[in-house]
């Protein structure tokens, strides 16, 4: 019986995602869903028939209102996450996202081989790479942050013209760069698709990692815990893909 040689892992609980990171994550998810849904409506509103007078209706007005509120939440949440990248724990640190070391690139290559090409490493089908997110994921999140920035710039740039507040007005230069609102609006619309594709792949990969590794990937964004094997813990003490200093 194979069971005889079965190695039963001892797992150790690691607090990976702190509460602010979890709040950031779910607020971000909710707000992005709201932004995409209202954004689609704003770009191509449904043909709503009504015999009510226009003065008694505010359909598009509400959609835009929700879009703008969600946009502010998204913006401040984003700013907060950037701040947390400097004061949060090592798994939330900015070094997890920006490829600045050879080890980062090496790990990205390993992730590519193991998780995408399904190749074996040292005869094993899986390698315990990282406790937080792996280097590939970190890099994708880095691109995501850049897209956040693109959406904030173009979105508030379009909004600036109709706002009296100084904050959106700071973005008034953006449409000028693209030669006007028409192109700015289109960039805003195109970029939105990045978020849809990202969300699909992101959710799939969370299930994938949970399924293959069995370390509580899905629930980690709920309680913040991930579970790593005791031997890996011993081996990886003071070892993250992109260690601080």
């Amino acid at each position: 019986m194979a069971k005889k040689y079965l190695h039963i892992h001892r797992l150790r609980r690691v607090y990976v995602w702190e509460l602010p990171v979890r709040i950031y994550h779910w607020l971000n998810a909710a707000v992005i869903i709201a932004l995409i849904a209202t954004g689609f409506f704003i770009s191509d509103p449904l043909a709503l028939m009504s015999n009510k007078e226009a003065s008694n209706q505010f359909t598009m007005g509400w959609f835009r209102y929700i879009h703008f509120i969600a946009a502010y939440l998204f913006f401040f949440n984003f700013i907060f996450r950037l701040y947390w990248g400097f004061v949060g724990n090592k798994y939330a640190n900015w070094r997890q996202f920006i490829p600045i070391s050879g080890r980062f690139f090496k790990e990205m290559w390993t992730v590519f081989k193991i998780d995408i090409l399904m190749l074996k490493k040292n005869g094993k089908q899986q390698d315990h790479l990282s406790v937080g997110h792996n280097a590939m994921a970190g890099f994708i999140y880095f691109l995501t942050f850049i897209m956040f920035l693109v959406q904030c710039l173009t979105g508030f740039g379009l909004y600036a013209g109709t706002s009296n507040w100084w904050l959106p007005k700071l973005f008034a230069w953006v449409p000028a760069v693209f030669g006007g609102d028409i192109l700015t609006r289109q960039i805003h619309h195109w970029s939105m698709w990045f978020f849809i594709l990202f969300a699909v792949i992101h959710v799939y990969l969370v299930f994938y990692h949970d399924y293959v590794e069995g370390r509580g990937e899905i629930s980690s964004m709920g309680g913040g815990w991930k579970f790593i094997e005791e031997d890996v813990f011993e081996k990886n003490k003071h070892h993250t893909p992109n260690p601080e200093k």
């Binding site: 194979a2 069971k3 079965l6 190695h7 039963i8 892992h9 770009s43 191509d44 509103p45 449904l46 043909a47 709503l48 009504s50 226009a54 003065s55 008694n56 209706q57 505010f58 359909t59 598009m60 007005g61 959609f63 995408i116 399904m118 094993k124 089908q125 899986q126 013209g161 109709t162 008034a172 230069w173 000028a176 030669g179 006007g180 609102d181 028409i182 192109l183 700015t184 609006r185 289109q186 619309h189 195109w190 698709w193 849809i196 594709l197 699909v200 792949i201 799939y204 994938y208 399924y211 293959v212 069995g214």
Partner: protein
């Protein structure tokens, strides 16, 4: 109008005649004393009352407070006439057409008569060497004092041969004429953005003025054409204050280009209510609903159409049931289609818009995920099996 034009003709021919009859050495003489605007108004037989009405109207047009009326009047009373040179390059002259149709008769009269349009291919009476002499004269006599109005873009391709006047390329002429200009007004989308002749692939390399002349204040007055009253307002502002009006970050006068057509549109309540024309001539179009879904670019277009309107305040495109095409915006001809909300994807052919590309990418992503899921169950079968066995073993060992 006919009367006005006869008048212009007389004025122009006299001007050109005067200039050409002078011996060449006269250019260094003291400037002939120019009458002030008010003196000219009086000479033309307008009453003081007409003059005050005109000044009040222009004050409102250029977006000043009521208290500034006195300032405008004083400037028009004391300022000598300012020479204006009006160049035509790559363009269709719709700007000039718009300008001479400024709603108020006095506007056209005052501006055409009182600004000495020393050189304008369309409006001047002189031609040939006479006209060129008039231009040369103004350039020398009023160096650093005249306003240069440019209508049209400048082709840089093939050394500029696509637009030549009197044996010179428009680029040469522009450099010559802008040298002594106090300020440059770029009339219309051609001079401001390059307009349709600079649409891809821009075979003549049509270039807007601000990309060629860097050392002069340039006022962009985009639109195809710009509204006549807006054009008049820009000139009067300069005459009154002796400096260019306040410009936005793209170089357009704030008084006319700070609001979107959408924000001043009388159909805006239908937009907010979610009531749209679905196709031309449908029931909603009859009711005058918002034209957003048939491609109105009002939400992306900064202009005064909704307020000032056209043809003496008669109407503007949206009021006539046609969506705004965004003619005063840069690259409006390249940025998506006229009758759709712009989401055309450059480089993906004319048929693919952003959402089509997005949907294809989404399906491709779904397929890739399905493929990866299958590959995972095959490629990592041993690992998954081991995990499962380990879990099952623990389950067995536990008491129920």
């Amino acid at each position: 109008m006919a009367n006005d034009l006869t008048h212009i003709y007389k004025l122009m021919s006299r001007l050109c005649l005067d200039d050409t009859q002078k011996p060449s050495g006269m250019n260094n003489d003291v400037l002939p004393k120019q009458p002030t605007y008010y003196e000219e108004v009086e000479r033309k037989g307008y009453s003081r009352r007409d003059f005050i009405k005109f000044a009040s109207m222009m004050t409102a047009f250029i977006g000043l407070e009521q208290s500034a009326i006195g300032q405008v009047i004083k400037a028009l009373e004391t300022q000598p006439r300012m020479p204006v040179i009006w160049m035509h390059f790559q363009e269709c002259t719709c700007c000039s057409e718009s300008f001479i149709r400024s709603s108020h008769p006095i506007v056209a009269d005052i501006l055409l008569d009182k600004i000495s349009l020393d050189y304008s291919e369309t409006l001047m009476a002189a031609s040939g060497t006479q006209a060129e002499a008039a231009l040369k004269n103004t350039l020398e006599k009023y160096k650093g004092k005249y306003i240069l109005c440019v209508e049209g873009s400048v082709p840089l391709g093939a050394d500029g041969v696509y637009c030549m006047i009197g044996g010179k390329t428009s680029l040469q002429i522009l450099h010559e004429v802008s040298e002594g200009a106090a300020a440059i007004i770029a009339w219309g989308s051609c001079a401001s953005n390059g307009c349709v002749q600079s649409a891809k692939p821009n075979p003549t390399q049509a270039t807007p003025i601000h990309k060629i002349i860097k050392n002069k204040p340039i006022i962009k007055v985009p639109g195809c054409p710009p509204i006549g009253e807006v054009m008049a307002g820009v000139i009067v502002h300069y005459l009154t204050f002796g400096r260019i009006p306040e410009l936005d970050n793209i170089g357009r006068p704030k008084a006319f280009y700070s609001k979107r057509v959408h924000d001043t549109c009388y159909r805006r309540p239908f937009f907010d209510a979610g009531l749209y024309v679905e196709s031309f001539d449908d029931e909603n179009a009859k009711k005058g609903y918002c034209l957003y879904k048939v491609g109105c670019k009002g939400p992306s277009t900064y202009n005064a159409c909704g307020v000032t309107k056209w043809n003496g305040g008669t109407s503007f495109p949206i009021q006539s049931g046609h969506p705004c095409i965004g003619c005063s915006e840069e690259n409006y001809w390249d940025n998506g289609r006229m009758y759709e909300r712009g989401s055309a994807f450059a480089g993906f052919g004319i048929e693919a818009d952003a959402d089509t590309v997005g949907k294809v990418a989404l399906v491709a992503t779904g397929a890739a995920i399905a493929g990866h899921a299958i590959a995972t169950n095959i490629g990592k079968s041993k690992l998954i099996q081991k995990n499962e066995e380990e879990g099952r073993e623990s389950e067995h060992e536990l008491k129920s």
